[in-house]
């Protein structure tokens, strides 16, 4: 069943992606096309097949818990759109006057 515009808006909200009205139209049709193609997966015989998350078997990699040099704070903040007092600055997340 094709996704409706409202469902596409909901996915966009989950993805934190602002889409303009004309984009909603385009994304809906592109998504529905792709989903139609992806549906061929329903034909695959996958009973008793375990999923693969990584192609090469990797296990947890451990290292000694020792202090090594890392980026200086000012360097780590150098690309921030806004920073103050050694922190990333973001818009207020609570309503009302502080």
């Amino acid at each position: 069943m094709p996704l409706t515009s409202d469902e596409v808006r909901k996915v966009a909200l989950l993805a934190r992606l602002e889409l303009q009205d004309d984009e909603i139209e385009k994304q809906s049709s592109a998504l529905n096309n792709l989903l139609e193609h992806i549906n061929v997966l329903q034909n695959a015989d996958i009973e008793l097949v375990s999923p693969t998350s990584h192609s090469i078997p990797v296990v947890n990699v451990l290292r000694s818990d020792s202090i090594v040099p890392s980026l200086d704070r000012s360097v780590a903040l150098s690309n921030a759109p806004e920073a103050r007092d050694g922190c990333f600055l973001v818009p207020r997340i609570m309503d009302g006057d502080a």
Binding site: R16, L17, I38, T52
Partner: protein, 488 residues
């Protein structure tokens, strides 16, 4: 010498070591070549000419001082713009990273810098490596040096076009579903996607972390071996980069002997969509290998038909998660519209990402959302197991598999307006990423003046056999020696 830019890296390296040319001389020849051809090809987003000259001068000083140097010392190289370079703009061809200057370099970049390679610039690509034509770059398209009205392929189209146009002898790209091999095929050069875990991904701006791998572009197979040697091997900064011994790739391409080698031709790779001229060029490679003593047989990988669909669940799922980091807080674009915290993120991402990236984030978010996970994501991962198992079975019988790299030669810019049609360009390369195997594309002919590539697929961590086979083929053929003549 006016045509230094036609040298392979290996030839140039020999001349540098013999003191016949200096690194500065070589670098200047390539910079001049870029100046001349870049208006037509447009392979670069950022050029780093000053840095290149500085690096070349350093190599010349070291050589004069008698230091022992890597064969890559003084060799110009281009880097795909999704590889972080400390102090050099790195955009991933996205507007959302239009001002991002990384505070550190990718491990591959550090290794090449330590080897004395000379960085001439950051190559164009599809935004965040998502695409098959480099048309999804937020900055400009790149043109195929063989026909400027055609695409160079993608996503590593700038890296491939730069090598095909002799702007550099070597470049690095990244390959998630074919993004090195398909542009190599379209541009008539060599492109290798190493085994997943062979090369560190640290500092590669992630698209789909279980599929991404960095690899080399070059005009011939010796240069491919040279560059792979420099970047392969364990890196503690990438926990998926395995501590598996690195072969001597240069010795693999020397005096290659493929007598008795078993080559499988999976018939599913010659199905719908593969142009008959492409199929014949590729099958001619099989006959040449046979003439050289290989044993060639047809075989079957029946789950190949599900690979594209499974890829377009898994890759977008991983992409939607990886690209969540671009929220206007830590780096890159921040929307100037005031909208609170969530609104800031939504607006920044809405303004900063292009249409294809948005589509993949959307599909990834959808297939991972509550109620759909089992139907799509889990099922796609199960199909991934089927694909892996079939490759495993095939490699019990064969040393390599031989297929087309792409169904057709390069298409015209703007020709594939339907995104689904575009995605079919990767149908022969995607299964290889799903199974984490190494794959190489080398030139094997021309159709209507445009180059065509053949793909060899190998066992995990057996890049040496791919290189050996390709070297053996290149000894008997001249396709890789042709150079595009670029209208000025």
């Amino acid at each position: 010498m006016s045509d230094l830019y036609t040298l392979t890296a290996n030839e140039a390296s020999r001349m540098l070591q013999a003191g016949e040319i200096s690194a500065v001389e070589l670098t200047e020849a390539y910079i001049k070549r870029i100046d001349e051809t870049e208006p037509s090809v447009q392979a670069f987003i950022t050029r780093t000419t000053e840095l290149a000259i500085k690096q070349a001068e350093q190599v010349d000083r070291q050589r004069q001082a008698g230091d022992s140097l890597s064969p890559l010392a003084g060799i110009p190289i281009a880097l795909k713009d999704n590889l972080c370079t400390e102090g050099v703009l790195t955009t991933a061809a996205s507007r959302i990273l239009h001002n991002f200057v990384p505070p550190y370099s990718a491990t591959v970049v550090n290794r090449l810098a330590d080897a004395g390679a000379v960085f001439v610039g950051k190559a164009n690509c599809d935004e965040f490596a998502m695409g098959s034509s480099t048309e999804n770059s937020a900055y400009h398209v790149t043109n195929n040096p063989w026909d400027l009205s055609r695409v160079p392929g993608g996503s590593s189209g700038g890296s491939a076009a730069a090598v095909a146009a002799c702007q550099v002898p070597l470049s690095l790209g990244s390959d998630t579903g074919g993004s090195i091999r398909q542009p190599a095929s379209y541009c008539g050069i060599v492109g290798l996607k190493p085994t997943y875990g062979r090369v560190s991904r640290f500092g590669l701006i992630a698209y789909a972390s279980s599929l991404d791998q960095i690899g080399p572009f070059s005009r011939d197979i010796t240069d491919c071996a040279l560059l792979l040697q420099a970047i392969a091997g364990h890196d503690p900064h990438d926990s998926t980069c395995l501590d598996v011994p690195v072969s001597d790739y240069l010795s693999a391409v020397r005096n290659p002997d493929i007598r008795g080698m078993k080559v499988g031709i999976p018939e599913e790779y010659f199905g719908q969509g593969v142009a008959s001229e492409v199929a014949s060029a590729v099958l001619a490679v099989a006959r040449e290998l046979e003439a050289q003593g290989a044993v060639v047989e047809h075989c079957h990988l029946p789950s190949t038909c599900y690979a594209l669909a499974a890829y377009y669940v898994i890759a977008p799922a991983e992409c939607s998660s990886n690209l969540a980091r671009f929220d206007g807080v830590k780096y890159g674009l921040r929307s100037t519209e005031l909208a609170g915290h969530i609104g800031l993120s939504e607006k920044t991402r809405g303004e900063g990402f292009g249409a294809e990236v948005k589509q993949r984030i959307m599909i990834g978010t959808y297939v991972l959302s509550a109620g759909y996970y089992d139907a799509y994501y889990r099922r796609a991962q199960q199909v991934r197991t089927l694909i892996r198992n079939e490759f495993d079975q095939a490699f019990e019988k064969y040393d390599i598999l031989l297929t087309p790299t792409a169904p057709t030669p390069a298409f015209r810019t703007g020709e594939k307006s339907d995104p689904m049609q575009m995605k079919l360009a990767d149908v022969c390369t995607i299964p290889v990423n799903m199974a984490g195997l190494p794959g190489i594309s080398i030139p094997c002919g021309f159709v209507d003046g445009m180059p065509v590539g053949v793909q060899f697929i190998g066992k995990a961590f057996d890049e040496a056999t791919l290189l050996k086979t390709a070297a053996s083929y290149q000894l008997a053929t001249n396709w890789h020696k042709r150079i595009a003549s670029i209208p000025g």
